[in-house]
C-alpha cells in the first residue's frame, strides 16, 4: 500500500502546504512498500543461504553423516571388531569369503562383501569406517555443546557486566588460550589411562577450547549492549539479567553459531589426532578413525587402502562442517560477503 492510497483528502477549508504525492516524480522515492516481507537477520541469512550450493552440498553431506552414525547397520552387516580373522581357518570362512583355506586375510585387498579390503588385524575396513562415524560425530557434538555453553556464559557475563568480572574472566581465558588445546588434552588423557571414553575425551578437548568462543561473544556483546533497544528495555524496567537474556544475547549469538560449527570440525580433528597419538579412545572398544589410521601406518607400503579410506572419511566429515560454517558465516555477515 503506498502513501497515495491514503484516503485522507484534505478538508476543504484546510490549507495545503505539501505537494500531492501522486503525479510527483519524487513521490516514487518516498513510497514505502509495506507489501515487502518482514525481515530480520535470520530471515536475511536464510534467504542468502538458500542460494548457495556450498550450503546445500554441506547440508546433504552432514545429513548423510548423521544418518550413517545413527544407523550403521543399514550400510554394512559385517561386524567391525569381532569377526576379524588373520587368515582363513575353516571351510565356512572360505565359502563366505570365496578364497581357499589358509589365505592370509590380514591386509588383504577387497573381497566380495568387503569392498575396501581388510586391516592388519583382518577386520573389514568399510565396516570400521561406517561404525567409526558415530564416535567422531558424538565427540564433535559433545565438545561443541560444551564449548558453546562455557563460551556463551563466560563471554556474555564478561561483556555485559564488564568491570572486574570482565577482567577476571578474560584473563582466565587468556591463560587457557595460551595452552594449545590438543597438548592440554594430551596431558589430561595421559592421566586417564584406564577409564577413557567418549565423555572423558570430549571433556579433555572442550575444557581448553572455549576461550575463542568466549572472546567472540564478548566482543559482540560489547557492540550490542550500547544499542538503543537495550537502553529501551532497561528503561522499561527489565532486570539486567533479563535484558541480557532477552535482548543482548539473541542479537550477538550469530558469530558464535559460525565458530561452533567450525569448532565441531576442529573437535573431530582433535579426537582423531589424540587417538592417532595413542592417547585417545581405546582401540578395542571404540571404533575411531584416528585409531584405524594409526594402526594402518605400519603397512602403508603394502596396504595403503586401510589408511587412505578412513582418512578420506575423516577429511570429508571435517570438510562438510567447515564448509557449512563458512557458508553460514558469509550469510550472517554482510561485510564478509562484500569483500568476497
Amino acid at each position: 500500500m503506498s502513501r497515495s492510497d491514503a484516503p485522507a483528502a484534505p478538508a476543504p477549508a484546510a490549507e495545503r502546504f505539501v505537494a500531492d504525492f501522486t503525479g510527483d516524480e519524487l513521490g516514487a522515492v518516498d513510497e514505502v512498500r509495506v507489501s515487502e516481507k518482514r525481515s530480520n537477520l535470520w530471515l536475511d541469512a536464510w534467504r542468502d543461504l538458500r542460494g548457495r550450493w556450498m550450503f546445500w552440498a554441506s547440508a546433504a553431506m552432514i545429513l548423510f553423516i548423521v544418518f550413517v552414525a545413527l544407523f550403521p547397520t543399514a550400510f554394512t552387516q559385517v561386524p567391525p571388531n569381532d569377526g576379524c580373522i588373520l587368515s582363513v581357518q575353516n571351510q565356512t570362512q572360505a565359502d563366505e569369503l570365496g578364497v581357499p583355506i589358509g589365505t592370509k586375510i590380514s591386509d588383504h585387498g577387497p573381497l566380495p562383501g568387503h569392498p575396501l579390503g581388510f586391516t592388519k588385524q583382518g577386520c573389514d575396513v568399510f565396516s570400521r569406517i561406517v561404525h567409526g562415524t558415530s564416535t567422531s560425530l558424538s565427540v564433535g557434538i559433545i565438545v561443541s555443546i560444551m564449548v558453546a555453553v562455557i563460551g556463551i556464559v563466560i563471554g556474555a557475563f564478561a561483556g555485559f557486566f564488564g568491570g572486574w568480572l570482565d577482567s577476571v574472566l578474560m584473563r582466565f581465558g587468556d591463560i587457557v588460550f595460551a595452552i594449545p588445546y590438543v597438548l592440554a588434552a594430551v596431558v589430561v588423557m595421559s592421566m586417564f589411562l584406564h577409564d577413557r571414553n567418549i565423555w572423558v575425551i570430549s571433556l579433555a578437548i572442550g575444557a581448553f577450547s572455549w576461550p575463542s568462543t568466549a572472546r567472540i561473544l564478548r566482543s559482540e556483546v560489547l557492540r550490542v549492549k550500547n544499542s538503543d533497544f537495550v537502553m529501551a528495555s532497561t528503561a522499561l524496567g527489565l532486570s539486567r539479567v533479563r535484558t541480557m537474556l532477552a535482548h543482548v544475547l539473541p542479537n550477538s549469538i550469530a558469530p558464535v553459531i559460525v565458530v561452533t560449527t567450525i569448532g565441531l570440525a576442529g573437535a573431530i580433528t582433535a579426537e582423531a589426532t589424540l587417538s592417532f597419538l595413542g592417547v585417545g579412545l581405546p582401540n578395542n572398544i571404540f571404533m575411531s578413525w584416528g585409531n584405524d589410521i594409526s594402526a594402518a601406518q605400519t603397512s602403508l607400503r603394502t596396504n595403503p587402502a586401510a589408511l587412505i579410506y578412513p582418512s578420506i572419511a575423516l577429511s570429508l566429515t571435517v570438510l562438510a562442517f567447515i564448509v557449512m560454517g563458512e557458508a553460514v558465516r558469509d550469510a550472517l555477515d554482510p561485510r564478509a560477503r562484500a569483500s568476497r
Binding site: R171, F172, D174, I175, V176, A178, I179, P180, Y181, V182, L183, A184, V186, V187, V188, S190, M191, L193, H194, A265, T269, A272, T273, F276, L277, G278, V279, G290, I293, S294, Q297, L300, R301, P304, L307, I308, S311, L314, S315, L316, V318, L319, I322, V323, E326, S339, R340
Partner: protein
C-alpha cells in the same frame, strides 16, 4: 615504545604463571597418587619412585610444590624419564632439529602463502582466486596426520622424490617434505589473511594516489600494497604457532624427525608421563614467549598498536 614493551611484559606474566600452573595442576591436583598414576599399569622400582617423589617434592603442600617445580624448570632441570634419561639432554639434542624444521615450515608457509594470497587478492573473483580458495579449504579439512601420510605415500613412496622418512642427522633435504606438510597446515590461513588484507589495502586512497601519480604496478604492488598488507600476516604466525606445535608432534613422529615433537610422540606412546609433562611445559613456555615476541614485533611494525585505546 618502552611503555608498550613493559605493558606487554606485564600482561604476559600472569598468562605465563597461569598456564604453567594449569598444566601442573592437571597432573598433580587430580585425587590419587600422581606418581603411581603416571606409571599406569607398571609398578615402579622403589628407587624410581623415591626419585620421582623427591623430584616433584611430594612431601610439600601443593603450591610450594608448584613453585619448587617451576624453580627447577628455570634452573634448567626438567627431571628424568622413566628410563632415567635426563629430559634436559633429550631436549638439547632434539631442539635444534625442531627449530630447523619450524624455520623451514614457516618460511615455506610465508613465501607460498603470501605469494598466492597476493595474486588471489589482486585478481579477486578470478579463476586463480577461486581455485586457491578451494585448495585452501581442502587443506584445512585434512588433519595433519592425514596430510603427512598422503605426502609420505605420494611423494615419498609413489614418486620417490623425497625420502619417506628422515635419515640420520636430519639433513635439510630430508626435512623439506615434513616442512611442506607443516606449512600446508597454516597455508590456508596465511593465504586467506593475505588475500583479505591485500583486497582491503588495494582499496585505500594511498594506493589510488600511487597509481595516480603515475607509478607502475611493479612498484605499487610490492611497496605500497604488500608491505601494508603484511602486518596481520605477521601476527597470524604467532596465532598459528599452537597449530605448528601440535603439527610438529605428529609430523615428526610420522617422518621420524629426531625433534622435540617426535620425543613427545614417543613419550606419549611409552606412557612416560613425567617426560610428557616436562615437554608440554617447555612447549607452552615457548608458545607464550613467541606470542610475546610477535606482539612486540607488531608494535614495531605498526606504531598505531602502541597507543592504548582509552
Amino acid at each position: 615504545m618502552t611503555a608498550y614493551i613493559l605493558r606487554r611484559l606485564l600482561q604476559a606474566l600472569p598468562v605465563f604463571i597461569g598456564s604453567t600452573f594449569l598444566i601442573y595442576a592437571m597432573v598433580f591436583a587430580i585425587p590419587g597418587d600422581p606418581i603411581l598414576r603416571m606409571f599406569g599399569d607398571r609398578t615402579p622400582t622403589d628407587a624410581t619412585l623415591a626419585a620421582l617423589q623427591a623430584k616433584y617434592h611430594l612431601d610439600q603442600p601443593f603450591l610450594v610444590r608448584y613453585l619448587l617445580y617451576m624453580g627447577d624448570v628455570f634452573r634448567g632441570d626438567l627431571g628424568t624419564t622413566f628410563q632415567g634419561q635426563s629430559v634436559n639432554e633429550i631436549l638439547m639434542r632434539t631442539f635444534p632439529n625442531t627449530l630447523r624444521l619450524a624455520i623451514l615450515a614457516v618460511a615455506i608457509d610465508l613465501v607460498v602463502g603470501v605469494t598466492v594470497g597476493l595474486v588471489a587478492g589482486l585478481r579477486k573473483g578470478k579463476i586463480f582466486d577461486n581455485v586457491t580458495l578451494l585448495i585452501g579449504l581442502v587443506l584445512i579439512s585434512m588433519p595433519v596426520f592425514v596430510l603427512a601420510f598422503v605426502a609420505q605415500w605420494f611423494f615419498g613412496i609413489q614418486l620417490g622424490i623425497f625420502r619417506a622418512t628422515v635419515g640420520p642427522g636430519a639433513p635439510w633435504g630430508d626435512l623439506i617434505l615434513p616442512a611442506i606438510v607443516l606449512a600446508a597446515l597454516n597455508f590456508a590461513f596465511t593465504m586467506r589473511l593475505t588475500r583479505a588484507s591485500v583486497i582491503e589495502t588495494n582499496a585505500q586512497d594511498f594506493v589510488r594516489m600511487a597509481y595516480g601519480k603515475g607509478l607502475r604496478s611493479e612498484r605499487v604492488v610490492p611497496v605500497h600494497i604488500l608491505r601494508n598488507s603484511l602486518i596481520p600476516v605477521t601476527t597470524n604466525i604467532a596465532a598459528n604457532f599452537g597449530i605448528l606445535i601440535v603439527g610438529a608432534t605428529v609430523t615428526e613422529g610420522i617422518f621420524n624427525v629426531p625433534g622435540v615433537g617426535n620425543e613427545l610422540f614417543k613419550a606419549i606412546n611409552r606412557h612416560d608421563s613425567p617426560e610428557v609433562v616436562s615437554i608440554v611445559t617447555v612447549l607452552v613456555i615457548i608458545y607464550v614467549l613467541v606470542n610475546l615476541g610477535i606482539d612486540l614485533l607488531y608494535g614495531v611494525l605498526d606504531p598505531r598498536i602502541r597507543y592504548v585505546k582509552k
